[in-house]
């Protein structure tokens, strides 16, 4: 007891030490796990592998990046991945916005809680189960779509986009719902009192105030799609995304090239975040 008492007395007299101890764990985690692994990723991208034994040769050079720049297929895979991520984000937004408005402003409080639980419910099921469920839906041989409507787009980019949009939908709904929840009803009433109809209120009042939430949601859907490689393996047919190339190169132990290509995704994401910052989204978060 006296030991702990003297320790607490010591920490009281030396507030900086106390703060240091408090922050040590999270800062170590941040530096090592986040920044450290990013630095390691960058360093690894400069190495190369022995073509026969697949051992990593630790000599620094930019060969992986020049390879990336001069090979057309990597460019088209990057563009395809970004387009899928954009499509998933837009699809999620178009579903999540009306859903969130209904949940936050129309539904009764009791129903509201049930709806929130309903939106969160799919997150309790395994990712793979949901992926394979979409495989069963899109299957061109005897899938649900084929059996119900007589035709199915089959496995491919459409199936990938839809399946990913389904998987990430809760991450778009929740921030928008939270944003709307914070939006006072009095603003909507004021807008209405001044003669604005629904559309105008939406455009001039709700949307500007909601933009940070939408951007926050889009960061989730966009970045999660950008890094995904499993859904496209399950329902993507013969298509591949950035994640697949990274995975395949890991498979042949060309980890340096995998790291270099992974950095492309990081670069795209940084560009996305910088653009998001220009919209002022982060200041309002």
């Amino acid at each position: 007891m006296s030991a702990s008492a003297s320790l607490s007395r010591y920490l009281h007299r030396h507030p900086r030490t106390g703060l240091g101890l408090l922050l040590a764990a999270p800062v170590t985690w941040l530096v090592l796990a986040y920044l450290g692994s990013l630095a390691a990723l960058f360093l690894t991208a400069l190495y190369k592998t022995d073509p026969f034994t697949s051992d990593i040769v630790k000599t620094i050079g930019g060969q992986n990046f020049s390879e990336l720049a001069k090979t057309a297929v990597y460019r088209s895979i990057t563009i395809r991945t970004v387009l899928i991520a954009t499509a998933v984000t837009l699809l999620d937004l178009s579903i999540a916005l009306p859903m969130a408005i209904f949940m936050a402003k129309v539904a009764k409080p009791r129903a509201r809680n049930l709806l929130v639980v309903g939106v969160l419910m799919p997150l309790w099921a395994s990712y793979l189960v949901k992926g394979y469920a979409w495989r069963a839906i899109f299957d061109s041989g005897s899938g649900v779509l084929k059996n119900t409507f007589g035709s199915s787009p089959g496995f491919g980019l459409v199936a990938t986009t839809v399946a990913l949009a389904y998987l990430w939908l809760p991450y778009m709904v929740l921030p928008i719902y939270a944003g709307l929840d914070r939006l006072p009803n009095s603003l909507l009433e004021a807008s209405s009192d001044l003669g604005a109809r629904g559309n105008r209120t939406m455009r001039s009042v709700v949307f500007p105030l909601l933009l940070p939430s939408i951007v926050a949601g889009s960061i989730f859907t966009f970045s999660l799609t950008l890094g995904d490689y499993i859904t496209v393996k399950i329902v993507g047919g013969k298509s591949q995304m950035i994640g697949n190339v990274v995975y395949d190169n890991f498979g042949v132990n060309n980890i340096p090239f995998a790291a270099a290509f992974a950095l492309v995704a990081v670069a795209v994401m940084i560009a996305y975040l910088l653009t998001a910052r220009r919209t002022g989204a982060f200041e309002n978060l």
Binding site: T44, F52, V73, F155, K238, S239, D248, G251
Partner: protein, 390 residues
Amino acid sequence: MTFNTSRFATALVGLSVAGLALPACGSTSSSGGGALSKLGKGEGQVNIINWAGYVESGQNDPKVDWVTKFTADTGCKVNSKIGNTSDEMVSLMKAGGYDVVSASGDATLRLIAGGDVAPINTALIGNYKDVFDSLKMQKWNSSGGKAYGIPHGRGANLLMWNTEKVTPAPTSWSAVFDDKSPYKGAITAYDSPIYIADAALYLMNTKPDLGIKNPYALDDKQFTAAVDLLKKQKTVIGEYWSDYLKTQAAFKTGSTVLGTTWQVIANGAQGEGTKVDTILPNEGSTGWSDTWMISSKAKNPNCAYLWMNYIISPEANAAVAEYFGEAPSNRLACGKTSDAKFCDTFHAADEEYFKKVWYWTTPTKACLDGRGAVCKDYAEWTKAWTEIKG
């Protein structure tokens, strides 16, 4: 589903560890470089990387079980991890933590060259004496006069089709390389760079003026022709497969009706009631000759040796061969199969037959057919495979 996120997590950890250049402090309990000289007591477990169907404990089919007996006999618990492609096996072996691998010829030499596997003291493998001589000390399982592996079995990659939807029955690989195929969108191919050899084998028969002598030894012009053929094939492909359960499911639902396969997949599909049949097309085929190898960092070397001896014993070798659909490596296994004609069907001792089968081999810059250093190495095959898929 064998695809797994934990593997990806390992990849990420691997990336960061590799970058930080932390020394991997793996305590090597087996002698580095040398073979085990004396068999000791089992360690209680053995960690195996294997092809689907090689390590069965009755979980997939209660009647198919040779692991339980091994564990009862030796006290070694078996932990099996399925490798979907040779590439996956090589990278898992490099990552460490495994004792034994069932490597095909396109992995063995890479593992030996990388120092990932140790030589084997065949005197400790009692059943080794009954292995067909034509499989012992071959260029894919030995190096510098030292045995690096215990032959397991061999077979061919086959063409499988849905007998209800594909008529007439195909007899040639042209069925999957025809870009005007009526089965467009329902054709499958193996998702690995080594599949380029299948295209090369087809060209060997249809375009003799390219002068392909060995589908794993392709110079610039031959390689480009094979890659172009595969790019054209992509227009009729529905999906590529590497996960054997997924392709089995695709044949079951009918989204795939035609494509390359292994006999074990056909057996599984037929077991589920899917109407499929297989053929070794008249051009011959690519195939495999598999080898059990021991990791140079094996933590359980004694159990590993016990496993390698057990799995090529006449009974176990016969059981695996029949389940997987391949020719056994142990000549006594032919007397233990449930189908008395099994070894004839799979040409176990028929060297002429296996001349038509091109075992998976790692392509190297120095051409395997002895033309000099003008061939494409495996790194280029890998790159081309990404380009083929687009």
